[in-house]
């Protein structure tokens, strides 16, 4: 699970609503692997990024060199884009958990795939 994905995920435990974001990340196995750098793609993803969530996750994973916020003219700033590229796409959480900040419910991540299926009781209102 890449951090770009984590940035998009929100807990859907009943009653939690928008307080289910962001999910707290815990990782037991992380893989950093190179991904082809595509500046256009990264530039387009920047506006969609929830920065607080990203910084929190990056912090948990002890990542360094993470930009704190989008800078002016980021579309043309290669260094900025490369750093974002690394954070969003090259860090893969293989094993770990995601925790709903409101309900505390834990969702496991296994083989890089987060399992966010709720049981039947949890989906009942």
């Amino acid at each position: 699970m890449k951090l770009l994905t984590h940035n998009l995920l929100s807990s859907h435990v009943r009653g939690v609503g928008p307080r289910g974001f962001p999910l707290r990340l815990q990782a037991t196995e992380v893989r950093i692997s190179p991904v082809e750098f595509n500046p256009d793609f990264v530039a387009r993803m920047i506006p969609k990024v929830e920065w607080a969530a990203l910084l929190e996750a990056a912090d948990t994973l002890h990542l360094v060199e993470v930009p704190k916020e989008p800078i002016q003219g980021y579309e043309h700033d290669e260094r900025f884009l490369r750093e974002m590229h690394h954070v969003l796409l090259e860090v893969d959480v293989l094993e770990g958990t995601l925790q709903c900040p409101e309900s505390g419910r834990l969702f496991p991540i296994s083989r890089g795939i987060p399992n966010m299926l709720l049981s039947d009781e949890e989906t009942e209102t």
Binding site: M1, K2, L4, T5, L8, L9, S10, S11, H12, P18, G20, F21, V35, E36, N38, D40, F41, A43, R44, M45, K48, L89, R111, G112, I113, P114, N115, M116, L117, L118, T123
Partner: protein
């Protein structure tokens, strides 16, 4: 039929040389128009010439007067020729073999061929497929001096006669159009997956979700064609996700497509966070659909951005349930005849019977509209287009919706 082969040898020879030229092209550069054809019919350019010829012959010889149908067929084909948009990855070895063979038999007189024929509808009552095949085969042998080889011919001539059209074609590939070198285990037929992805108006920087991705076929096709996009696939089944993972690795797309184990009616995504949703909704034949189709589409609607697009593949059943009416099961178009949908612009109202009695070409736009009318809006989802496609044994419908506004507005 004999007239067909004897009256115009030119067009046959032209077709053969086009076929040869196509085979000699570099495998990666072959452009084919996308269609939902079954594996036997491969018309690429030749049919344009031949179909026109067929039209005049058939009108004289066969009673069925489906002139307008044929015209439409020809129109669609010419449309397609103008729409060569895709490069298709094709397994190198297949093409090398074909090229080698074609080059070896450069001398046309050494061509070995086989005629494969299929008859359906009223014609099937008059002729058997073997008879037609034999007549054409003998005529060709007499006309061109080719030798018949039933086992491993260089050239395969394929003929399909039905109530609606007559097709004479030469397959360019030995493998189905839907075969892909980069997909390890295919789920949905790749041609349909691609067609759906192309309807979805995928733009660079979009977030594309397939909430019932299965083996990931749709996402794979989309990611190959539109790479600058963020793809997410989701499924409830471990085995499907594992299969999808394998497929992604085999295709080298592991970095482009993320997988989640989530349920489509409980998507852990904020509202209005996804630009495009493309999905093949399980028909219930191979995989069970545990949930109600309405709930599924509701949840999809929730996560979709305003102005976003949804493209779904639905069975007739789903379609009916969406409409909310209890129609008795209507027979689908000509049982047994595989309706080819070249430009995929045909959309038939299932209430029309198999034998289309009116000329369709002028009411083409009208029938499309009728199909649209039968597509119900869904909350803030506005129907845009609807196409009937053939999956081989069954038909299905591709629905395209756009989200017009946030619910509650």
């Amino acid at each position: 039929m004999q007239k067909l082969t004897n009256d115009d040898p030119e067009s046959w020879l032209n077709a053969i040389s086009i076929w040869k030229n196509l085979l000699e092209l570099d495998a990666k550069k072959i452009k084919l128009s996308q269609k939902n054809a079954n594996s036997l019919k491969r018309k690429v350019g030749e049919n344009d010439i031949i179909a026109k010829k067929l039209k005049t012959e058939q009108m004289q010889e066969i009673q069925e007067n489906k002139e307008c149908q044929l015209e439409k067929q020809i129109e669609e084909e010419t449309l397609e020729q103008g729409n060569f948009t895709t490069k298709r990855d094709k397994s190198q070895e297949e093409l090398q073999n074909d090229v080698a063979e074609a080059v070896d038999t450069h001398n046309q007189n050494d061509l070995t061929f086989r005629v494969s024929c299929r008859c359906s509808g009223a014609i099937a009552k008059t002729f058997t497929a073997q008879e037609v095949g034999r007549v054409i085969g003998i005529a060709l042998m007499k006309q061109f001096g080719w030798k018949a080889d039933l086992r491993n011919p260089n050239l395969e001539i394929f003929i399909h006669l039905s109530d609606i059209y007559s097709v004479v074609g030469i397959p360019v590939f030995r493998v189905p159009l839907a075969s892909r070198a980069y997909i390890k285990t295919a789920g949905l037929r790749s041609t349909i997956a691609w067609a759906m992805a192309s309807l979805a108006e995928i733009k660079a920087g979009a977030v594309v979700l397939d909430p019932m991705c299965g083996l990931g076929t749709i996402l794979l096709e989309a990611a190959k064609e539109w790479p600058d996009v963020y793809y997410v696939g989701a499924d409830v089944s471990d085995s499907q996700l594992l299969g999808a993972c394998d497929n992604l690795k085999a295709a080298g797309l592991k970095d482009k497509i993320e997988l989640l184990k989530v349920s489509v009616i409980e998507l852990p995504l904020p509202s209005e966070s996804v630009d495009i949703i493309i999905s093949d909704i399980p028909f219930g034949k191979k995989f069970k659909l545990g949930k109600d189709i309405k709930h599924i589409i509701q949840e999809m609607e929730r996560v979709l951005c305003v102005g976003g697009t949804i493209v779904l593949l639905l069975s007739e059943d789903h379609h009916r349930r969406l409409k909310g009416c209890e129609e008795s099961s209507v027979p689908l178009n000509s049982k047994g005849s595989r309706t080819d949908k070249p430009g995929s612009t045909e959309c038939l109202n299932p209430e029309e019977k198999a034998a289309i009695s009116e000329p369709v070409s002028s009411s083409f736009a009208a029938s499309n509209q009728e199909c649209l009318d039968r597509m119900p809006p869904f909350g803030s989802l506005v129907p845009v287009e609807c196409y009937r496609v053939s999956l081989g044994k069954t038909d299905a419908l591709i629905y395209k919706y756009k989200k017009s506004h946030s619910p509650g507005q």
